[in-house]
């Protein structure tokens, strides 16, 4: 018995020695969409440290983090919701929660994870600890008619805001009682394609595909309803084809302004964050997909839809002009800034690599191989409203 205890303690000690204590602040993951892999990465060493397999169809997958940055919740296209431990580099739990999912969000208190689904259209809330289903809100906007849900984002006080593509509405669901959610509905406009919550949690915006404009809801005064901003920004001119829908998130806000992708125009639209009036538009190379502010707001990085997706442009927010055009690789699908923005990581799908750039010098400072990489998600998202 004594022998056994001694052996057990040696095993225990060596197990501890194999897993030195560490925090999660500089960790993250890269989604390798073709192979169903995640590559876990470290932004300090600028390198991968582990690979996790068995996550199903990861095309268009997205990720949110637990408050401590240890667990990633991955929403896959096949409706899979997978909880991954970044420290132990393993899947903790995986459920198939829908037929076709597009993303999700986590509550302010970190206790519930909400998935937004295309089919069946609606949202579903899960216990973040166990992934047990708590409740669901079908996006039934008219009797028997269900909508795809887009733009889901966490708002304050256990609320979640999202938009209905076919329904043309913004919904705000309150999960104060996670098993009995209540929902408010607001008319928004034609075909919302994505949405965002501003970094202070106050406004929800839904970009519209079916008309020129953006619906804006003040979550502090929802009773005022959604108003339309940037109305008619296309000035009646014919739209250019959109080969990929842009993605909106709170990264659009910089220096008190919102930098938003135009739809069907090769422009970034600039809106004042108080008056919500257009204050400028910046011509760019192609249809913008991600329009992302560096965390300090000095630069905006823009990538593009097919066929212009092998270039990336950088806007300087002081001069309001494009100051740099980069060709980081073939088919740049996603970008992610390090927590304080000294570097940006970009996934080059068709070059099967991730490249890392210094955002001050625009020099390439690192790269590593990854199979058809798409999304890059760092744990710094854990502490941001709307991520």
């Amino acid at each position: 018995m004594r022998k056994f205890l001694a052996l057990a303690s040696v095993l225990l000690l060596s197990a501890c020695a194999g897993q030195p204590l560490r925090g999660t602040g500089d960790l993250g993951l890269v989604i390798e969409r073709a192979s169903g892999h995640l590559t876990l990465i470290n932004t300090s060493t600028k390198a991968p440290y582990a690979r996790v397999e068995g996550l199903g169809d990861l095309s268009h997958a997205s990720t949110v983090y637990s408050r401590d940055g240890r667990y990633a919740f991955i929403f896959g296209r096949d409706g899979g919701l997978t909880k991954v431990d970044l420290l132990e580099a393993r899947i903790v739990k995986r459920v198939i929660q829908a037929g076709n999912s597009i993303g999700g969000s986590i509550s302010q208190d970190g206790r519930i994870v909400v998935a937004q689904n295309y089919a069946p259209g609606g949202i579903k809330a899960f216990d973040a600890e166990t992934l047990e289903l708590l409740s669901e809100v079908p996006a039934e906007y008219a009797p028997g008619q269900f909508s795809k849900v887009v733009g889901l984002a966490d708002a304050q006080g256990g609320k979640f805001a999202y938009a209905l593509f076919e329904g043309g509405e913004i919904w705000v669901t309150d999960f104060k009682d996670p098993k009995k959610p209540t929902t408010q509905r607001f008319p928004a406009g034609k075909q919302p394609y994505d949405g965002l919550v501003t970094p202070d949690g106050r406004y929800f915006m839904a970009g519209l595909y079916g008309e020129d404009g953006v619906a804006l809801l003040d979550l502090w005064q929802p009773e005022k309803g959604a108003m339309k901003i940037l109305e008619g920004y296309g000035r009646g001119e014919e739209k250019l084809p959109v080969f990929k829908m842009p993605h909106l998130r709170g990264w659009s806000m910089a220096q008190g302004k919102a930098y938003l992708p135009a739809i069907g125009r090769h422009e970034v639209l600039v809106v004042d964050g108080i008056s919500w009036k257009e204050v400028g538009r910046i011509p760019v190379k192609g249809q913008p997909v991600f329009v992302m502010a560096r965390p300090d707001g000095r630069q905006i990085w823009v990538n593009f839809a097919f066929p212009d997706y092998s270039e990336v442009q950088v806007i300087d927010t002081l001069s309001g002009k494009v100051v740099k055009t980069l060709s980081p690789g073939k088919a740049i699908l996603h970008m992610e800034f390090t927590p304080r923005g000294e570097a940006v990581w970009l996934s080059a799908r068709d070059d099967n690599k991730v490249v890392i750039y210094d955002t001050a010098s625009f020099d390439k400072i690192g790269e590593f191989a990854a199979q058809a990489p798409s999304g890059i998600f760092f744990t710094s998202r854990a502490a941001r409203i709307g991520f």
Binding site: R33, A34, D57, G99, N100, F243, M245, D350
Partner: protein
């Protein structure tokens, strides 16, 4: 008899060349498959099980029973009022036809 044989040979070679006029080169076919999986995939899903756009699996397409010409026209010219964009800048009508044929029989993997 000899004549008939001769006729058959001509007929067969004509049929073969008609097919190959529709058939992209192996390199182009590879590009098209990749394009459908990756770039159409951003809306229809890489597995073609649907996303913002409807599923384009053989089963789903047969279920909706839309004439082939209409599917080709959708790919080439897009569908105004919906997010389906026109692809004529990047593929010819016969290439769109080839894609629809592949979709209807179950689209190849890359």
């Amino acid at each position: 008899m000899k004549n008939l044989h001769y006729f058959l040979m001509i007929y067969l070679s004509l049929a073969a060349s008609a097919a190959s006029a529709n058939e992209p080169s192996p390199e182009r076919a590879h590009e098209l498959v990749r394009m459908v999986r990756q770039d159409c995939g951003s809306c229809h899903g890489m597995t073609l099980n649907g996303g913002l756009g409807p599923a384009l699996t053989a089963e789903a397409l047969k279920g909706r029973d839309i004439p082939k010409e209409s599917l080709v026209a959708t790919i080439v010219g897009g569908r105004p009022g919906t997010p389906m964009p026109p692809w004529h800048r990047f593929l010819s009508e016969s290439e769109a036809g080839w894609i629809v044929d592949r979709l209807l029989e179950g689209f190849p993997q890359q």
